[in-house]
Amino acid sequence: MAKRFFTRIRGRVSGVFQKRFWVTLSVFFALVGPGIITSNVDNDAGGITTYSLAGSEYGLSLLWILVPVTFALIIIQEMCARMGVVTGKGLSDLIRERFGAKITFYLMIILFLTNLGNTISEFAGVAASLEIFGISKYISVPIAAVFVWWLVIKWNYKSVEKVFLVACLFYLSYIVSGVMGDPDWGEIGTAFVQPDLRFDAAYLTMAIGIIGTTIAPWMQFYLQSSVVDKGVRTADYRYIRMDVIVGSFMVNVVAFFIIMLCAVTLFQNGIQIETAKDAALALEPMAGKYCSLLFAFGLLNASLFAASILPLSTAYTICEAFGWESSLDHKFVEAPQFYGLYSLTVFLGAGIILFPNFPLIWIMYYTQVLNGLLLPVVLVFMLLLVNDRRLMGQYANGWTMNVLSWVTVSALVILSLSMVVSLIQAG
């Protein structure tokens, strides 16, 4: 009995590995990209700052939150990717067609402002990380802006996507620097199994901050559009789902190493930091020069990466909603709104950083408020759309998926609104 069972299993396994496995793997690598890129952009300058702060202020006690965050990220992104594959349309396109011009118009204005705010913080990240290497922001930021602009305008999207995927690999620098921090793995395991839950306001604000930086409104639009761009057929949908799941895990593995590194070094030595740059600098005496430099390099990579994608996503999303030509394959004169919006976001985002004494904190504050207000609307719209059988047919949410997604979305809506309330009270 047992023997027959094992022969059968072996037959299955070797079968899988012989042909189907390689077919599957090659299709996966042809379609890979949207999910992994979108997720990794979540670990942008703002994300890294939040994780560093979480680790240095609360040690390992916030690590557990990465588990529900991964789960929520998969649930939300899977729906977006599914909508992209089945309808062949971007999210802003679907929102416009279903909810009309008025709502879409105001939604796009808010999205533009939050994306602009985030782009500013990415360029601030570029400035901060290169200051560690001794380069002034008046040199680094203009070069970064021109580089980003040139990369996207002069190359076609296929090559840009490959550059982006390479950028995703550079996130490994955080894993390396995390290991260099020489952590106590047993203690970390315990932090996951027996999470140290606390209920003071600051702790909860930090928890919400981690969720907010990982699940942002713009990424649903970006993910869906890039899935559509890939022209994936419904038969190949499972590869996109794999892509999304891999991406969601990757982003949280990186987050884990950042929080962990800051916890075992900064927190244990009681060092207070305010920015990711502080974290990189403070790491040097404790974890070594290379660890500190790797941390700074990771920040630079993440900021540049997100600074390329956010403006691109903004231009795509808005043009799609309003029916303007939106493609990197067109010339400037053929798609003036697209290139205009893209260039405006890049150069405004970079330009504001160069103002002496510009109020970065103030901009970040309002960006977070707008993000928190926008996310619930986008998520609820998404749920309504993904349940529309006229649109999705047999790929609409099933009963289980609906329970999971409504619970996730409700939790996220409550959390983002409570963050907005606490921000306004604090502000």
Binding site: T87, K89, A101, K102, Y106, G231, G323
Partner: protein, 421 residues
């Protein structure tokens, strides 16, 4: 602007009508306007029904437009019997405007572009509403957002500028939201007005479902020409949607080398299925081309060209051209070959026309021919086109036997990407 408030409104927008309160004769509110139904008549569709959302929570229903007494701030309707109403279901020859047009994508067949509908404009005459224009402009978008007045004040005050409306006449509009709308005769007439190269751009701009619907609504010849101009990746996705017999009909109409390139991109079993459905002789020619590498001369050439023996007269050649040119990919040059297919010379159509009909080809042909070997690299071929300024270059094998012709158009696809954006 003043006109809008004085007497009868001549033009009005769908966005102004949607959401209006609906009152009966006794000024009692019975619901609000959800949508308008038009009958697709030429030249301008006429509103036939109003979709009402009743004041209670009952289901929406349609009321005939003939019951509408007046339309101003509110819509006033005469009493109607329940039999006159119907549930909102799609019927042939009618469309629900908000549902199928507003905020959706349409093709502007005049400008050959995909546009998004911001609003619809009606002409009101004799109590009938005629759909005349589709608004695709920024002004329409601002009207929908409720910001048109602030925008006007702002632009006028700041720059002494008024943003004009951007309308497209209904006769140039092809809706896309349902495949049924593309099957109508009128749709095919409209789409056939667009140049295949523009149709290809339009198809590339659409989503997967609309692409297939538009493509499948084209007649075979237009479909083939459009397919030739489409991005290879999209070509494959369009052909994959078709049954092999339908695909083969279209591919037969394409030029041989384009057909071969397309079949080479398809999965093997699918390409074989299509080849077996194709006419024998075309399938044979395509298979020969399929065997050659795409980036060499052999992969760029077509085998559908005109060739004659040297002893043929000019008159006979011209008569033959008249019969055969239809099926050729290229007919401006004719090639003179011997019994073993060795290339001896060539003549252009113009030279044929000005030569005496009774003269033999060998006496008038140009023997200073530029040809390339079948293994020649595409870059070198592009250089030769630039150097000799010809419309086509013949391809020969190692024994100088003529194998095919590379047309300028086919080399253009290779050099165009290097010309910069």
């Amino acid at each position: 602007m003043a006109l809008q408030y004085s007497d009868p409104q001549v033009f009005l927008f769908l966005s102004q009508i949607l959401g209006k309160r609906v009152l009966n004769r006794r000024n009692k509110k019975i619901g609000k306007v959800m949508d308008l139904v038009v009958g697709l008549v030429e030249p301008y569709p006429i509103v036939t029904e109003v979709l009402l959302s009743p004041a209670g929570s009952r289901e929406n229903y349609c009321v005939p437009w003939s019951r509408v007494l007046e339309m101003d701030r509110v819509l006033r309707v005469d009493d109607f019997s329940p039999e006159e109403c119907r549930r909102p279901e799609n019927r042939e020859g009618e469309i629900f405007l908000k549902d199928t047009l507003l905020d959706k994508q349409v093709v502007d067949t005049n400008g050959a572009k995909v546009r998004r509908v911001n609003d619809l404009q009606f002409l009101k005459a004799h109590n009938l509403l005629h759909l005349v224009h589709v608004d695709v402009g920024f002004r329409g978008l601002m009207r929908r957002a409720g910001l048109v007045k602030p925008m006007d004040v702002f632009l006028q005050g700041l720059m002494d500028y008024t943003l004009a409306d951007q309308f497209i006449a209904w006769k140039y509009i092809q809706p896309l939201s349902s495949p049924d709308l593309l099957k109508l005769k009128i749709a095919q007439d409209r789409l056939s007005q667009i140049h295949p190269a523009d149709l290809a751009d339009i198809i590339e701009d659409l989503d997967i479902h609309q692409r297939a619907a538009v493509f499948q609504s084209l007649d075979i010849e237009t479909a083939a020409e459009t397919l030739e101009e489409t991005d290879p990746k999209i070509q494959v996705s369009l052909i994959k949607e078709l049954k092999p017999e339908d695909a083969s009909d279209i591919i037969e109409e394409m030029s041989l080398n384009e057909a071969a390139d397309l079949l080479a991109d398809l999965p093997k079993h699918q390409a074989e299925g299509i080849l077996s459905e194709m006419e024998q002789d075309i399938a044979e020619d395509v298979k020969e081309l399929l065997a050659l590498p795409e980036e060499k001369a052999g992969g760029l050439m077509t085998t559908a060209f005109l060739s004659y023996p040297p002893t043929l007269t000019v008159g006979e050649a011209l008569e033959n051209i008249r019969r055969e040119a239809e099926d050729m990919d290229f007919a401006y040059y004719v090639y003179v070959i011997d019994a073993d297919e060795h290339l001896l010379g060539m003549m252009s159509l113009r030279e044929l026309l000005v030569s005496p009909p009774e003269g033999k080809l060998e006496d008038f042909m140009d023997t200073r021919i530029v040809s390339v070997n079948i293994e020649e690299d595409e870059k070198e071929i592009a250089n030769m086109f630039a150097k000799y300024g010809v419309m086509a270059i013949p391809v020969v094998d190692d024994d100088e036997r003529m194998m095919g012709v590379i047309i300028f158009r086919n080399i253009l696809e290779i050099i165009a990407p290097h010309l910069g954006k």
